[in-house]
């Protein structure tokens, strides 16, 4: 298989996967098919598909300006590919946006409902208008193939200059207004990125990116079609790209200095690391590489430097678009595989459309040989199957279709079922407290060590549910539950968890009484040292097991449970609706509320290591 055919096969497979995911997203909704949330309303689809997509399409207006306005005829060879990339790039942005919008069928609302104050309104209009301009700029190319369209083509060509100028104006506006979008987020976007100069920074980086994108694209297609790349022409783009990137670096750091944020560059935060990676990949490395004449003129050097620059701008747009936002809750957003699939699928679709145009229309001066056709082989008619065999193009299309269908089937199989996805997010929540739990971790001095209290056994022994009150209601106010010693007055008896005899007997600890109990006091639990005075960590090595840590109902829960359950019963029986209301008891403002000791102690639901003994 040739390079192009292998690439097409891969692109069709990706598109198939994305088709399955995209269809499911439309049928089920955003929440089930993405990791977007109220904490990250914008994710990969905005950051990559829209923000980066628009930036990547900036080659169109840069090259048309160079050729048609500044009359730099040597770039004429790359005009058509640049315009085609821009056109397909914008189409991809619109398609990608359809998946991200909650109500994609309302996308036309921007035409009738106006809010000119909104930067997004401007972006929307610019995309619509510029897409039209690009379509009109590109249309003469396919129209060459059809004599019926010759008149339309002639008219469009006479209008080329105004179209080019309008395209430049529109691109300037909305490359920059994509930056303006984020001016509305001063409290969310990280200060290393938030700047009143965002629109300018976006525009300058888009210009640099447009130049590099043309370089990258030219080399990639040259590799695919074994075409000779326009290395000399591209060097003429790499040179200016270097100066624009330098300007960008000056603006970026000048802006940081002007806002007094340079000190932040040394802070140990992941955003700072991200900032340095972004600067290096997006500007510093490409500038350095393009400055070396050997690299600027060479094929591999051009390709590598432009590739870095393009990747860097994508990273920058993804950072500004949502990754480098703070203060939206502590949940970490990692895009779901479905989000990656849709984004990749949109790119794959645009790539396939690009290859289609390249093979059918005169994008370059000489069209590459159709890789699907073997000029030496004639198709032959198979009488048994009544089909034409041996036409490689047909055979390839079959393979591509199969790739698409198999990938789509795989996608549907990998997607969770409707029932699962619509209920996604509902997780069983661990009940607070030891109710029903086997053991309760009592950590009296809150130092992470303590004893296991067999809660279930106690409940059973004391008479089931009705016995809760024995510990949880006889306690003093604001105490969390009755202390063990309230019942276990004689802690040396065999029922204890302590093992008094074992400690006291000569074969056990070899300890005399006064080593634990104060010498001049009655020998009781009250006069004993805490266990942790000797057992610093209470977890003997090799005799540990992991149990679930529970938290007993505190005073508030116990009181609320006891009062409210009775109040609501009586409320229903006696038709006194106010009896169950909070304010019935909390009559004084904040009565009971400002009590000092209401914080639940211990860590609910975490696992801890307990001393060995009865294995579970």
């Amino acid at each position: 298989m040739s390079r192009v055919r292998r690439l097409k096969l891969a692109l069709w497979a990706i598109a198939g996967l994305a088709a399955a995911v995209g269809a499911t997203r439309m049928l089920i909704g955003l929440g089930a098919t993405s990791n977007l949330s109220d904490a990250t309303p914008w994710g990969l689809w905005i950051g990559f598909d829209v923000m980066a997509g628009v930036a990547l399409a900036s080659g169109g207006f840069i090259i048309t300006a160079s050729v048609y306005i500044f009359k730099l005829e040597r770039f004429h060879a790359v005009v058509r590919p640049a315009v085609l990339t821009a056109f397909l790039g914008y189409l991809a942005v619109v398609v990608g946006l359809l998946f991200d919008l909650g109500l994609p069928w309302n996308i036309w609302h921007m035409i009738v409902f106006w809010n000119p104050r909104s930067p997004l309104f401007e972006v929307g209009w610019c995309v619509m208008l510029y897409l039209t301009v690009l379509a009109l700029e590109f249309f003469p190319v396919p129209a060459e193939q059809f004599s019926a369209l010759a008149r339309v083509r002639r008219v469009l060509l006479t209008w080329r200059l105004p179209l080019v100028i309008a395209g430049i104006g529109l691109s300037t506006l909305h490359q920059s207004s994509l930056g303006s979008l984020f001016l509305a987020m001063p409290y969310h976007l990280h200060p290393l990125w938030y700047s009143p100069w965002l629109p300018v920074l976006f525009l300058v980086s888009a210009v640099a990116l447009g130049l590099q994108m043309v370089v990258l694209e030219s080399h990639t297609t040259a590799y695919l079609y074994k075409r000779k790349p326009e290395t000399g022409v591209l060097e003429g783009l790499a040179g200016p790209a270097r100066w624009v990137l330098l300007l960008y670096l000056v603006l970026r750091f000048g802006d940081l200095a002007a806002r007094g944020q340079l000190g932040r560059l040394a802070v140990a935060e992941w955003q700072v690391a991200m900032f340095w990676i972004e600067i290096a990949v997006m500007a510093a490395l490409p500038v350095a590489l393009f400055s070396l004449p050997g690299i600027r003129r060479g094929r591999a050097g051009q390709w590598a430097a432009a590739g870095l620059g393009v990747a860097g701008v994508v990273l920058n747009r993804v950072n500004v678009g949502g990754l480098a936002h703070t203060g939206r809750g502590d949940a970490l957003y990692i895009p779901a595989w479905t989000e990656f699939a849709v984004s990749a699928g949109v790119v794959a679709g645009a790539g396939l459309a690009f290859l289609f145009c390249v093979e059918r229309f005169a994008i370059w001066h000489e069209r590459p040989a159709d890789p699907d056709a073997d000029p030496l082989k004639l198709p032959e008619f198979d009488k048994v199957g009544t089909t034409w065999l041996g036409a490689p193009a047909v055979a390839d299309r079959t393979v591509y279709s199969m790739a698409f269908i198999i990938a789509a089937a795989l996608g549907f199989a990998m997607l969770p079922s409707t029932a699962e996805t619509t209920s996604r997010g509902v997780e069983p929540m661990a009940a607070r407290g030891a109710r029903g739990g086997e053991a309760l971790w009592i950590d009296g001095n809150l130092d992470g060590t303590g004893v296991a209290f067999p809660h279930d056994l106690h409940k059973e022994r004391e008479g089931g549910q009705s016995s809760c009150v024995k510990c949880h209601h006889m306690n003093l106010p604001r105490d969390r539950a009755s202390r063990c010693a309230e019942c276990h007055r004689d802690m040396w008896q065999p029922s204890d968890a302590f093992g008094h005899d074992r400690h006291a007997s000569p074969t056990g600890g070899c300890l005399s009484c006064v080593q634990c109990h104060a010498a001049d006091a009655p020998r009781s639990a009250a006069s004993a040292k805490p266990c942790t005075a000797c057992h610093r960590d209470l977890v003997p090595e090799g005799a540990a097991r992991v149990v679930r840590q529970y938290d007993a109902a505190g005073y508030v829960q116990a009181m609320h449970g006891l009062c409210i359950s009775c109040h609501t019963r009586v409320m229903a029986a006696r038709k006194k609706p106010d009896l169950g209301r909070c304010a019935t008891c909390h009559r004084e403002p904040r009565a009971f509320v400002d009590a000092p000791d209401l914080a639940p102690r211990g860590r609910v639901g975490s696992s801890v290591v307990l001393p060995g003994g009865r294995a579970k």
Binding site: L36, P41, M110, S118, R581, P589, V593
Partner: protein, 250 residues
């Protein structure tokens, strides 16, 4: 009259009657904890909640109904708007679902119907219909301790400052919402720092829409400027090229 709410956190007992009334009045369905929820209890179906502030204070969280709302300035189709009464309301028939409002809100208030096939943005609308017919929002009506009260914004500001003056030791001397980001219709007085409602960021007085308005007002000039420069450059270069061609002929 500018409809407003004043919440005094020192009076709140955390009974959640406001949240229940909100669900009743706005006919919001029951909610389950979902993957996309933030931890503040607000969701597409809970428009107000009682959260725990520092020192375990109860603080009612709801839309602040900014005087210059960032969400309304952000919405590309004007689905969010501020009514004459002061409520910031939402028109689902216009919405595209772009969620720029959620990104722009400094208080993270708007929530999304993530689980719906036809999702909308959801947030407190200050019971706009009840307010416009002379009533008051469900939450303030339900509050048993008058911790959250409804009234005209100026009157409530006077009341808030009166309380701060009379019991200066009880409160922090600040009315939250008086002038941050241009002022909000939902005001707070408290004995604890409430900046956690805006993720601890110190909000300045500049209304959020003002931060984009400079860039937006430059749009027509930028467009005309770029077009004029391009047309001019093109004209100059073409003239020079024509002259060079003439010279060559001669």
């Amino acid at each position: 009259m500018n409809a407003a709410i004043l919440t005094d956190t020192t009076l709140c007992i955390g009974c959640n009657e406001c949240a229940l009334a909100c669900k009743r009045v706005n006919r919001l369905e029951a909610d389950l904890p979902r993957r996309w929820d933030l931890s503040d209890g607000l969701s597409a179906r809970n428009w107000t909640s009682v959260v725990r502030g520092p020192g375990r204070t109860f603080v009612r969280k709801q839309c602040r109904h900014c005087l210059e709302p960032a969400c309304a300035a952000a919405c590309p189709v004007g689905a969010l708007s501020r009514t004459a009464s002061g409520a910031v309301v939402y028109d689902g028939d216009k919405c595209l679902g772009c969620r720029y409002c959620m990104m722009a809100c400094p208080y993270n208030i708007p929530r999304y119907d993530w689980d719906q096939r036809v999702p909308y943005v959801r947030k407190c609308i200050l019971c706009a219909e009840r307010v416009e017919t002379g009533g008051q929002p469900g939450c303030t009506e339900a509050c048993p301790t008058k911790a959250t009260i409804y009234g005209d914004r100026d009157a409530l500001l006077t009341e808030a400052h009166r309380r701060l003056r009379e019991e200066p030791r009880k409160y922090i001397d600040k009315v939250w919402g008086e002038d941050e980001i241009g002022g909000t219709s939902v005001l707070y007085i408290s004995n604890v720092d409430l900046s956690f409602l805006a993720h601890g960021m110190a909000l300045d007085r500049v209304p959020v829409p003002e931060r984009t308005s400079l860039a937006m007002s430059a749009v027509p000039f930028a467009f005309t400027g770029v077009v004029a420069v391009m047309a001019g450059v093109n004209w100059l270069i073409e003239r020079r090229m024509a002259r060079q061609a003439e010279d060559r002929h001669e």
